[in-house]
Symmetry: C2
Subunit: 491 residues, 2 copies
């Protein structure tokens, strides 16, 4: 048994190394690869992805994992969870014909390019046929994996183990009703324009972000700060976690909230226990819990008065011209509620309505209740219904997100689930750390770091989202904490 | 035949893609990888290198290449050269037992680490046993490849096809005698300290280098400027060539000459013809010719009056404090002849004596005429004999270069061969472009770009160094042009 386990972990390590290389190829592409290298990079990436698939479905690996999985009662809980995850991954891989995998991969590159073209030219027709094909391939994908289940349930399972469409309907209904009620009552606030009052040079802002992220516990001995077009976090290896920032010279709030969001992901990945590094769950894989950590740091902490009482003077060291403003001005500006077209720029309340819009539209398309050709119209109508505003162009409407073009259908809901989980965990954190505000004000964020490291980060994805929440908060995922948090903060 | 060729090029493309990934893994390590990721990166690199070796020695690939090689008379010259190179690569790979390959690779990582430790601690004993092993493995390597040839001939062939120890002895003898004579006669010049008179911030210097490299023809649509500890150029794919600069805030000459040197390599790689992109010679593989291009740009052009007449005013746009100086001051400072300990900082004359020193020592060690334990002593004695100065510590003496620690033994001579070739090509270029000085002064470097693109760059390594020189200059490699160039410039 021990020998079998050691063979399993050796093969798993190779698979993880290769996945890390894929992550690097893609990180490098975002960060500095020259534009003409796109197609040779696609080949390099395809080559390694094919290798990963070959290793995942090699008879050697399959035999070992299946045998271990059949004897799970003899394994300790760590090995058992790792084997389960690998077993599930293999079973999914085996269900997909390799021709289908290759075609789907090709479709994704082509669709992403078409999305860019359509967006640049404000011409939906350039995208429409490929998007239709993408949804068709997604239906086929779901059928290969499990044709006895509703399509959307199969898709959700890739991003959030155990989540179902029915559960989502229930949660989102409660959320939608409440948020729309709250929106009606929120009072409009004036902006002080703190974060748009100057020009914010990349070099200075980069140093500022290094200082903030250091203070909050990011370890640059095993981390990197990148510079990209769309903020994201990525892991090249256990000792190489990269948070990537999109710098705006005109809007420091945009740059900073983005950086703090990715930092939440990065802290999670950097603080998975050494004990689990060799396992299949040494990454924060459950998207709901992962997103809860980025949203919690971005919103509950990164938009709080205490945070800015400490960090605003730090900012004025880099940008003395902001000394005209107070930290209260800064906090005010970061908490203005206002319907906007772009999801990634939305406030804490309307953000979730953006997600619900996408969820409802994805379902309608998958169930063939609407035609792709009507998508711009449907999108705008729904936007008006949920947020009371109507986009005037496609880039601020249905072409704003990359997700569908890269095949990430069924992914959006995890953003809102992450928001719910963040409020639920935040509620518990506050109960366990009554004095946290006084400490934050003074720049002591150790209560935050330690509580989340102990309760969440160290475990990677040893637990499912449901288990994490039950363990830490004694409840499954519920909407009430987010609703309470928003009411308390904004009403 | 066509089908066989197409299979061959498909497999070759995969091998080249994987080699590009190795280059990226190493580039990223130099540029931004966090320090704790060293060992996981080594695993990733090892994994891909193993894959390259597996692909190179797979029965499929071998069968195809051998068959094509046996029918070379039926191939056109392009396919024939590509097949020859691949055939040679396979034959070398097959001669090495795979255990030996793995052990040698491990020894290289260990020795590189020991070199760093020894250098940091100024303690040769930390390095000595591993360096002994390294030379022993190098002897074994040469014996595996061809035990009928002198060891050094076998090693040279890896870096410079067709070069032999005897030819080198002859060339270096002529060079040594002449350079030592010249050195006695060169008059000492005073430095104006142009390039050390201020603090040169990385951000500004980076922009300056972008402007210079752009002007000289580097294409940033398929190129990148990196920031590293030791300057180098690397190729991730045909459309992704990276020149990497070490920035010194205190010595702008060091930064710029390094950047211009790497630019010479980069221009070569970027301008290989599309016709050859799929072949085994789509990289400037012959080190003599490759180095001739970097040295020519760095020395013949980058230290010339005409170059600085145009570029000095550009520099003062970034660093107005240098307006106290003239472009003549700048040129003067870049052409001061003075014996120094460090090869990479040496002037055009003494540089070659540094190389001859290394060549002579390598030969003595390989032939067991000296003991590794006496290396520091032997080094210092030779330095005194050749350059009239004696190092006082190891980092300025025998521990200054990385090469031996990574197994690059027999590599150094190509640096001087590159210098010879650069002078020989430069002589021909001048004859073909009588008006070049007037054009350079005005910032028109097209004569340089076009001549070298037409005569060298476009061909990659379609030709050997000898063929290149015969084609372009109607002579084999000779020492006289470098000696003449130096005499004319410095006496």
């Amino acid at each position: 048994m021990r020998e079998l386990l050691s063979k399993y972990y050796k093969l798993l390590e190779e698979i993880k190394s290769l996945k890390g290389i894929v992550a690097l190829l893609s990180w490098d592409q975002e960060n500095q690869m020259p534009p003409l290298a796109v197609s040779s990079r696609a080949k390099q990436r395809g080559l390694i992805e094919k290798l990963v698939h070959q290793k995942l479905t090699s008879s050697d690996y399959i035999k070992i994992v299946f045998e271990l999985n059949s004897k799970k009662e003899l394994l300790n809980s760590i090995d058992s969870r790792s084997v389960s995850i690998s077993n599930k991954e293999i079973i999914k891989s085996l269900k997909l014909p390799s021709d289908f995998v290759e075609e789907f991969a090709n479709l994704k590159s082509k669709t992403q390019q078409a999305w860019i073209d359509a967006k640049t030219n404000e011409d939906f027709k350039l995208y429409q046929p490929l998007l239709e094909e993408m949804f068709e391939y997604t239906r086929r994908y779901a059928a290969y994996i499990d044709d006895s289940k509703p399509i959307y349930d199969v898709l959700l399972d890739d991003y959030e183990e155990g989540m179902t469409t029915n559960k989502l309907h229930k949660i989102f209904k409660e959320l939608k009703t409440n948020l729309k009620e709250i929106l009606k009552k929120v009072k409009a606030k004036e902006s002080s324009h703190v974060f748009t009052s100057s020009i914010f040079e990349k070099n200075k802002t980069e140093k500022l972000i290094k200082e903030i992220t250091n203070k909050l516990g990011f370890n640059y001995a095993k981390g990197v700060l990148g510079d990209v077009h769309h903020p994201f976090e990525t892991k090249i290896s256990n000792e190489d976690v990269r948070i990537n920032v999109k710098y705006s010279e005109h809007d420091l709030a945009f740059t900073l909230t983005g950086a703090i969001h990715e930092l939440g992901h990065g802290l999670y990945e950097q603080n998975i226990s050494h004990k689990y590094e060799h396992t299949a769950f040494s990454e924060g894989a459950s998207l709901t819990i992962h997103e809860s950590q980025s949203r919690l740091l971005e919103n509950m902490i990164g938009r709080s008065k205490e945070f800015w009482e400490f960090f605003f003077p730090v900012i004025t060291n880099y940008y003395p011209e902001l000394k005209n403003f107070t930290y209260e001005d800064a906090t005010n500006d970061l908490n203005i509620i206002k319907s906007t077209f772009i999801r990634t720029e939305a406030d804490e309340i309307t953000y979730n309505l953006h997600i619900i819009l996408r969820f409802e539209i994805e379902l309608m398309i998958l169930n063939k209740e609407i035609d792709i050709k009507d998508l711009p119209q449907v999108w705008n109508n729904k936007m008006e219904e949920l947020l009371g505003i109507r986009p005037v162009n496609l880039s601020e409407g249905c072409l704003q997100d990359v997700h569908w073009s890269i095949g990430a259908i069924g992914y959006f809901p995890t953003y809102s689930l992450g928001n719910l989980a963040s409020a639920q965990l935040w509620h518990k954190f506050k109960n366990d750390n009554l004095d946290f505000k006084n400490k934050f004000k003074k720049g002591d964020f150790s209560s935050y770091f330690n509580w989340f490291k102990n309760n969440i980060w160290q475990y990677g994805s040893l637990y499912t989202s449901e288990e994490f929440l039950n363990n830490s908060t004694d409840e499954p995922l519920v909407a009430k904490y987010l609703i309470e948090y928003i009411k308390e903060k904004y009403l």
